[in-house]
């Protein structure tokens, strides 16, 4: 090995090993010998004092010596044998690779065919659904609005009658008709908004969430409410709809605050996490960077069991608050349209945390 007798005592085993064999020793041989007591016929590469590599076969055994655990290792140089085995291994590897590639190709081909059939089916279904939605939208915009408009006109005519033309019961019924038809008109227009939200072609650009959030905070800052914003990332998306997404979230945080003397604090923070971009295919993985934005408040909160249903359309947990129960449904729709996700966690009396995941690119 080229060492003199007094050069090695006191040194660690690493000094004798090649760099790669040091890693191998620390990650494989040492744990194995410690747990199993011995290891046999393992390859490694040692190096001479002049840093010449020597392929060796090693046996190792752990023994107790004067109260200490000692590992004894014996090396046998195997220059020729290593070369032959390497040839065998290379040949084996080449054969395996070819086989694996062949197998992989066959599997991929099968998967592709399956996906094509599935995709075609999904596409037809989506087209059908799209047609239905278009019909629905027409029904809403025209067929439903028209009778509503007429109800309003007739209610207006009645209201303009000579004073005393109706009984007091008649006037209060008239006011009721007017209020109900206004509510219905708002509902119809919100529903239309929800269903047409993402069917228009939208422009994708790089959107700085920090700027969007600063603008929204300026709009929502009011007495008793503080916003605490730490830096948010830039994502690729549709500026208008992302603004709408976060507007709904801030709106909720302010709307569902505690109406007591305590200051309402809304914390908004963002970080970048690795997340699988495949959403529906269970065996596909591609980890890409996502912005994770959390908006947490100390508001009235809700029962955490309802954390999923709050995103359903027209779902209102608090019947007497303003709004139609569309805000979170719209937010979810926008997040998913961006290939993102939204989730909520809450505790009654403590507050709510909304987490939004949006792909960075």
């Amino acid at each position: 090995m080229g060492y003199t007798a007094d050069e090695l005592p006191g040194k660690g085993i690493d000094v004798l090993l090649s760099v790669a064999s040091r890693i191998y020793f620390q990650t494989h041989i040492f744990p194995l010998v410690t747990l199993h007591g011995s290891a046999s016929a393992l390859y490694a590469t040692i190096q001479t004092q002049q840093r010449q590599p020597v392929p060796v076969l090693l046996n190792a055994v752990r023994r107790e010596h004067e109260g200490q655990q000692v590992i004894y290792i014996s090396f046998i140089p195997v220059h020729q044998r290593r070369l032959y085995e390497k040839e065998i291994l290379d040949a084996k590897k080449a054969a395996e690779d070819a086989l694996l590639r062949n197998d992989e190709l066959l599997t991929l081909q099968q998967q592709l065919e399956q996906h094509q059939t599935e995709q075609d089916r999904q596409l037809s279904q989506l087209q059908q659904r799209n047609n239905e939605l278009e019909q629905f939208s027409k029904v809403i915009t025209h067929d439903l609005q028209e009778p509503l408009r007429k109800i309003n006109v007739f209610a207006g005519l009645l209201a303009n009658e000579q004073p005393g033309a109706l009984t007091s019961m008649g006037y209060s019924a008239l006011a009721g008709i007017s209020k109900a038809s206004n509510r219905l008109r708002m509902l119809v227009s919100d529903l239309q908004l929800y269903f047409t939200l993402t069917s228009q072609r939208s422009d994708i650009e790089s959107v700085d969430l920090q700027i969007i959030m600063q603008e929204l905070i300026a709009q929502y800052t009011t007495t008793g409410v503080t916003f605490n914003l730490t830096s948010l990332p830039v994502v690729m998306g549709n500026r208008e709809s992302l603004t709408s997404l976060f507007r709904h979230l801030l709106d909720n945080a302010v709307k569902f605050r505690k109406m007591d003397d305590n200051l309402t604090v809304v914390r908004i923070s963002g970080t970048v996490v690795g997340h699988n971009s495949f959403r529906t295919n269970p065996d596909k993985y591609r980890y890409v960077d996502y912005a994770r934005i959390t908006i947490s408040d100390n508001g009235i909160g809700f029962d955490n069991h309802q954390r999923e249903e709050i995103f359903r359309i027209l779902k209102k947990l608090h019947p007497h608050t303003p709004g139609m129960g569309l805000g979170l449904a719209v937010s979810k729709k926008i997040a998913e349209w961006h290939n993102g996700q939204i989730s909520a966690e809450s505790a009654v009396g403590k507050g709510t945390k909304i987490t939004v995941l949006l792909p960075i690119a």
Partner: protein
């Protein structure tokens, strides 16, 4: 209709990752093994926490007694796939307020998991961590790309060796109870293809940009001499990880939880008992 991935039941996850639970405490302490071995590497350290914690150990797919059919090359082409394993286990066992203890590359895996779901974790204990093993433009990780290629060659060359020294004796042995002892004596079993892929993902990866994102308080356990994660790397970790505590313990090598278990246990206890 789009298909949604089937929800894995808690038992599926327990079987998939060979999850073992012990201990009399309530707060979970989750141990994750490093590259090259399996959960048996925690056997000198984990029992010390059974009085005060719910101790949970597991094997990554392709390690220990896990079944290979759950292996997915795409999922494990990134440490994020391994971090998802940790999060899947946390979800299946409904774990919260977790003390996560990871060795070597599992420190990075735990870190990615804690960045993704910070609310689940109370503390991270990183044993011999490194965010980057390769030297890179002024950063000293300790290794060159050629070293990693040679490591992979060494591992590949030892495939025959492994087959004789560490393959688990899986056989029906109801009539030969002495074989049960043999079964219990197999350690660090690793599937070669999984190990080679894991080696590349581990040693060619770079998690330096993730360190500042970690908000969970962490302990970095560093030994005096570790050729895989040298003291300078421990210093780098501590400098770039917020809320981290560096503890250089009186031990050498990359596996202090095996070579100096008491020092490792003391370091973890000291850290967990100090006020944060």
């Amino acid at each position: 209709m789009l298909t949604t991935p089937p929800l894995a039941t808690s038992q599926t996850i327990v079987d998939r990752y060979n999850v073992t639970v012990s201990g009399r405490g309530t707060q979970p302490m989750l141990f994750a093994h490093g590259f090259g071995c399996d959960q048996s590497m925690w056997r000198f350290v984990a029992p010390a926490f059974e009085n005060d914690y719910r101790v949970i150990c597991f094997d990554y797919i392709g390690h220990g007694r896990t079944r290979l059919n759950a292996y997915n090359r795409e999922r494990y082409a990134s440490l994020h796939g391994y971090a998802q394993d940790v999060l899947d286990i946390c979800q299946a066992l409904d774990l919260h307020n977790i003390v996560f203890v990871g060795h070597s590359v599992s420190s990075m895996i735990g870190m990615l998991a804690a960045i993704k779901e910070p609310d689940r974790f109370s503390n991270l204990v990183m044993v011999s961590p490194s965010p980057r093993y390769l030297n890179d433009d002024g950063y000293v990780g300790g290794f060159e790309r050629e070293d990693v290629e040679e490591l992979i060659e060494t591992m590949d060359g030892n495939f025959f060796g492994w087959a004789t020294s560490t393959a688990p004796a899986i056989m029906a042995n109801g009539d030969r109870p002495e074989l049960g002892a043999e079964l219990g004596a197999t350690f660090c079993h690793t599937d070669i293809e999984v190990a080679l892929h894991f080696a590349r993902v581990t040693f060619l990866g770079d998690n330096r940009q993730d360190l500042p994102k970690l908000q969970t308080p962490s302990l970095i356990i560093q030994t005096r001499e570790d050729i895989i994660a040298p003291v300078a790397v421990g210093d780098y970790m501590a400098k770039h990880t917020p809320n981290s505590t560096l503890h250089v313990i009186d031990a050498t090598g990359h596996c202090p939880h095996m070579s100096a278990p008491q020092e490792t246990i003391d370091a973890i206890n000291q850290y967990l008992h100090q006020p944060h």
